[in-house]
Symmetry: C2
DNA sequence: CAGTATTTTTAGGCAAGGCTAAACTTTAAT
DNA sequence: ATTAAAGTTTAGCCTTGCCTAAAAATACTG
């Protein structure tokens, strides 16, 4: 199989890549907290293993093989997150770090049985879809809060940032998956929003609006 | 914290050491499937970190610190084994390899919550005691089958070898924890035994008798 | 107790994965 | 079209953990 380091690079490229576009060395380095030179080394290795396509000075993208691999890692990560929240009473801001470790455990039976034990969940605690054992997952219909206009209304179905800082902020305002949110006013000057949430009005910055996914009510 | 490799050495020394006696470099190398020279390197490192006492050419033993550390690793290993058997329907011969990986996950909360989720088990699926979070565990009153005499009788409370090969052998003869075993006859020539198990008579070699722990009926 | 056998350590190397500094491409801007 | 800035790669070095071969220490044996 692949080393932990390889798996982490695969995951990073997967999350950064947007369809056909190449992901740059620097983008990967930023996301992984390493140096560009280390990324170059690894990209060569991933290319050798046919996990990524690498064009020097241009960037890299995962091969079909690499995508398959990424999906399995993400499946494991998200299943463990569900386990931690549902069975071990972790809160949604505590799971990421531990799941980062658990996702690298190698055992097909383990992950199959875990999936079954959790009753084949479709989403993780942050609303992200869990790939099945073939790598397929439900595409979730969602829109970034920052793209909404006055009067738009929806329910929270996902978050992008899964850091404790951000999730604690949401908890503080009793915002969780499913919470209904309405845009009362959008301030074009700084892209901040005035929202109606839990029967209260709440002022949020662009950064926050850029990290919340809603399912819009028509 | 300590690296995976360090943890594995600590565990190996712990299992090999018999109270005060020093464990030799070669013993450790054999158990870890590495070379003696690698062991020497690591013993120096463990000594530097005050996890082991190392006397060149003589051997090593864990310090109090090292023992504490070993107990925590063993606690994690055995709790995960219980989890795999009780919650994910693994059989007792399948758990070891996966638990070897899971025992290195670093998260105090994870292990505390897992313990709670499993309702604070006292023994793992092979009958071995699970240390509590302070490193204390119940001493189990047990005797090696190979030390019994004709007519002795008891119940299986533990196994030493946890390999699939051995555990499958036991499964084949429907021997599990709690199974009653009586020594019908001991053959002094080759230390083999004729046992009464599950209302049948069973011939076992010394190797097998050396891997079964019984609690003797008085 | 001398000599051999065994065990252990040392010395030197290798692979993975990271780093810095220098060299080289590409991009952007005059 | 040059040139400066930004991005990327190369070269060389480091650490961890492992290895082999040789040297050193200890243990055994007659």
């Amino acid at each position: 199989m692949h080393s932990v380091s390889e798996e982490n690079y695969i995951k990073a490229i997967f999350h950064l890549q947007d369809d056909l576009a190449l992901v740059s060395t620097n983008e990967i380095a930023r996301r992984m907290n390493t140096k560009a030179s280390s990324v170059t080394d690894m990209l060569k290795k991933l290319a050798d293993k046919n996990l990524a396509e690498y064009i020097p000075y241009k960037g890299a993208r995962l091969t079909e093989n690499g995508v398959k691999c990424a999906n399995q890692i993400i499946r494991k990560h998200r299943l463990w997150e569900v386990f931690l929240v549902e069975k071990l009473d972790f809160s949604w801001d505590e799971v990421h770090e531990v799941a980062e470790q658990l996702e690298h455990i190698q055992s097909q039976k383990l992950i199959d049985q875990l999936d079954k034990h959790l009753d084949y969940p479709k989403k993780d605690p942050h609303g992200d879809p869990i790939p099945d054992s073939n790598g397929n997952y439900e595409v979730i219909n969602k829109t970034l809060l920052s793209q909404l206009k006055n009067g738009d209304k929806g329910a929270l179905v996902g978050v992008i940032d899964t850091s404790s800082n951000f999730l604690n902020y949401l908890d503080k305002h009793s915002i969780q998956l499913g919470t209904q949110i309405e845009v009362l006013e959008r301030e074009d000057f700084d892209n901040s929003f005035t929202l109606q949430v839990n029967s209260k009005s709440l002022q949020v910055s662009q950064l926050i609006a850029d990290n919340l996914y809603l399912k819009i009510f028509k």
